[in-house]
Amino acid sequence: MTDVSVSPSSGRKYSGEREGLAPRSRPLIQRPDVLIFLAILALVTICATVLAQMGYVSTSTVKLLGKTLCLCLAALAMDLVWGYTGILSLGHFAFFGIGGYAIGMWLMWDRTELIVLETLAQNPLPPTPLEIEEAIGAQIFGVVGSTEIPWLWAFAGSLPVQLAAAVLVPGLIALVFGWLAFRSRVAGVYLSILTQAGTLALSLWLFQNDSGLRGNNGLSGLQNLPGLDDVPQSTISLWFLWASALALGGAYLLASWTVSGRFGSVLRGIRDDEARVRFLGYEVEHYKLAIFTGTAMATGIAGALYYPQAGIVNPAEIAPIASIYLAVWVAIGGRGRLYGAVIGAAFVSLLSSWFTGGGAPDIDLGFYEIKWTDWWLVLLGLTFVLVTLFAPKGLGGLVDLWTHRRSTRVDDLGPDQGSLRAEEDRP
């Protein structure tokens, strides 16, 4: 099984090969990790569908599965930007939320419009556009004590625009933020803190009622697709499961292709020694900006698929802690390998909902009873510290053991290692 993070191409760049595309060892579709991943994904999705049809798997489980796939997609993007490029972004979950908000606006608007049209149809006069708009405004914003439609909602009635927004708004924000930050050579922990602050600012802004996205309440009732009132949630949840699976599968292929080419080599080069890559003549900023923006867009798509399954998107989702959890998933799963991110996200988020859902049996120590709803976060926090300390490869490292593949190279301790060694060498 090929471990993409240590594919031969990464070594080749250092030998000075600049021109031409680094040859891909094998066509993508023949690479075992891609094949196995896609096979497992397909198997899970099909099994879930069939079992759900037979009534063995409940709708809430299908939804949980669909949501988990979306989280895996976000983790995949996080892995690209952190595991491969060494940019620890503590703001990627904000893009996830923005994607959810963009699609949520359309879902709310369109559903409300249908309700409003139905009511207005009882009026002897045909409704005017102004009447429709006022009624929608009262319906959507009445809950938060307003009736005016904020400018942000100008295109909320158009699915194509909002779909585009789910991708482009995260992209645009990432582009502007990244351009400003990379241009001033803000890197390392500084960048992490900046992205975290930016996320905090966004969530605080969304928290305000005045910002026009219904404040703390956020957008709710997103599981009801407009015009599909007759289709039961058990069906809709399957649609979204499939959509999420397709998105994850597609993204995995795209990511594999990206990291196996020259582009991927440069990214890893930046991670290991940014200065050296710059000296070699690469426009490091452009590469970083491209991956930062691209992953932001992918995360936006994940969010747009996630929130219609969750049913509600609100500022608490975007709080900085969520983005840190994203990094935790990737770290536990194993950085610098695509399947690691997916394993981490799926494993930790499912485990988390098992523990907090009261699924784990309490342990009675005689003098004290360990209730997992209380102690799960302690366990997660400490596990995470231990993984960082003793198993930097995360769960993905287990795959190495299983394939009996011992790396002959110096142990890769992670993205920081190279740059800091360089730091010490510097006079």
Binding site: G55, T59, S60, T119, V144, G145, G215, S220, T235
Partner: protein, 426 residues
């Protein structure tokens, strides 16, 4: 198998079998949807314990329809989307007959679509901003006209307040309540410049400037009063700053809508004596029913535990539900809902709660002054006020009424005489 055919199967087989009518399966299951971890745990855990206590009491009395009642407790962990997920699990996987749950408005709005889709039944025990009426929810907490408006009347009539500071945490309950209050105050002839509104984040701690601004308001010689919808921990910093600024209740009275016995246990109340809170219940209410309720609670949970308003709401809601089920002879949601209308149950503070056609209760409004021992001295108690889902003080909702048994609609426009929507607005 390709995707289209799967969807086709999904479409044909999708609908799950409906629950059988008029049939009771033992045990009767009561879902408890309160956060046991996360930020809301502190408030909601108490309610979980309350429901468990009520269930145990009912089982001692012989259960319900010959069955044991079983409480099914889940933990939505103060995570709003989880309320939808857990509500679905409770209804479709666990098959509960009723849910007691939610605290924040956003958690209720999150669970609403699921309740309506699966025709569940939920009792919501907390004071809230109104502007909602769902067929599947009974609101046993106060609507704005059962808490906020009487409190403002008290300020206007009894304390002669002429300038108002509306301080709140920035979320939907304070926002909507303050909007209703602003409209109400303007109706009462209070000018716009005499109303100061401020919103702070959850857990805000830097109150010096805001308290200073409030004190400055008394510069034109008129009585200033503060209406606080500040939520949770932030109250501690706020009251500490008030005390530090030596603002006594005689100079600038503060009436709070989110500060009860539970919240006061987190701070030293000597400097707060005389400030007010408005609720439908105080632990200090001097009736025999309340004495017994408090005694049972303390015996079960510990001497230092206090009772509060949402607990009474669950107490009323649970007992009404038990009576309605007994009357209907089934736990079927539609039958129970029909039986709920007009249910009467004595309040812990005296008087009777009646379930209205708009799914709200009649409740007396109590105003209490904070005492040194962290309790409230009840100084005003009104007759029972019927809860109003849609406020009369905002033009858009003044024309709406909710009447489920009569009109079959929770959002009925009396001007056009049409039902705006059957589902609730979430």
């Amino acid at each position: 198998m390709n995707r289209t055919s799967l969807i086709a199967i999904a479409l044909t087989l999708g609908a799950s079998p409906a629950l059988a009518d008029g049939h009771v399966t033992c045990p009767v299951k009561v879902g408890v949807l309160h956060s046991l971890s996360g930020t809301m745990a502190i408030s909601e855990t108490t309610l979980k314990d309350t429901v468990e206590m009520l269930v145990d009491q009912q089982n001692e009395k012989g259960g319900l329809l010959g069955c044991e009642i079983e409480a099914v407790v889940v933990d939505p962990a103060s995570d709003w989307p989880l309320f939808a997920e857990k509500a679905r699990e409770l209804i479709s996987d666990e098959g509960v007959d009723v849910i007691f749950g939610s605290w924040t408005s956003v958690s209720r709005k999150s669970a609403l679509p699921v309740l309506e889709e699966l025709n569940g039944l939920m009792f919501y025990p907390v004071q809230y901003e109104g502007e909602e009426s769902s067929k599947n929810v009974f609101y046993t907490g106060a609507a704005p006209n059962q808490q906020a408006i009487p409190a403002v009347d008290y300020f206007l009539e009894e304390l002669g307040v002429e300038r108002f500071a509306l301080l709140g945490t920035d979320y939907v309950y304070p926002r909507t309540t303050n909007q209703i209050l602003e409209a109400y105050l303007k109706d009462k002839g209070i000018a716009e410049e005499d109303i100061f509104v401020n919103y702070t984040p959850f857990g805000h701690s830097d109150w010096a400037t805001i308290v200073g601004d409030v004190v400055e308001m008394s510069e034109d010689g008129r009585q200033v009063g503060v209406i606080s919808t500040i939520n949770g921990d932030a109250n501690i910093g706020f009251y500490k700053e008030l005390a530090a600024a030596e603002v006594s209740a005689d100079d600038i009275p503060v009436v709070a809508f989110s500060v009860g016995e539970e919240e006061l246990s987190g701070l030293d109340t000597t400097d707060l004596v005389g400030h007010l809170a408005a609720w439908n219940y105080f632990q200090s209410a001097d009736t025999e029913a309340n004495e017994e309720f408090v005694a049972t609670w303390k015996a079960r949970m510990g001497e230092d535990r206090v009772t509060n308003d949402p607990m009474e709401a669950h107490y009323i809601g649970f007992n009404m539900w038990v009576n309605a089920v007994t009357e209907a002879g089934t736990t079927d949601v539609d039958a129970v809902r029909e039986a709920m209308y007009g249910q009467e149950f004595p309040n812990l503070t005296g008087g009777t709660a009646v379930m209205l056609p708009n799914h709200h209760l009649t409740k007396p409004v109590l105003i209490g002054e904070i005492t040194e021992d962290g309790q409230f001295d009840i100084i005003s108690q009104t007759e029972e006020v019927p809860g109003d889902a849609w406020t009369d003080h905002l033009p858009e909702s003044a024309k709406l009424v909710s009447d489920w048994p009569g009109l079959g609609c929770g959002m009925y426009n009396t001007e056009t005489e049409t039902c705006v929507q059957i589902q609730s607005n979430y």
